[in-house]
Symmetry: C2
Subunit: 87 residues, 2 copies
């Protein structure tokens, strides 16, 4: 299952949440991660976010598509999550 | 076609790009917009981003799914793009 996660959390929690998501997904931009995850990996990510976030302040969205090919992606400008800039 | 746009641009261009995207899409979080767009509306959004962004500095990603139901969405914490908090 293809997952895309965007978050908007208080500054003091950004680094911890970034590190946590990086263990499971690829960083693509600012506060955006994506990657191929199994149902149980998504469950682990969901549980981690519930644990790390303060839910009346922070916000995160998990978008999932059963097949990666259902989701088309187009980058304008710099592609941040790459070590080399392909554009 | 369902579109999800995330951007990461220099502070001085945030407001202009936010306002531009708001004319076409729904604001859902920080620098994330989504909405149902036709092919020609997506083309207009793409052209606008190319015009407003400085491409060796800024970054934006346009994710599209042909059908909204192909993309499942789950919110953790606050749902920012709503005037009332449904969670």
């Amino acid at each position: 299952m293809y997952a895309l996660i965007v978050y908007d959390v208080e500054v003091k929690r950004v680094s911890r949440i970034h590190k946590f998501l990086k263990r499971h997904l690829n960083w693509v931009q600012n506060s955006v991660f994506e990657g191929e995850l199994t149902e149980s990996q998504i469950e682990a990510v969901r549980a981690g976010l519930h644990r790390l976030m303060v839910k009346d302040v922070d916000s995160a969205m998990i978008y999932t598509a059963r097949e990666e090919r259902w989701l088309n992606k187009e980058v304008i400008g710099r592609e941040r999550g790459k070590t080399t800039n392909l554009l």
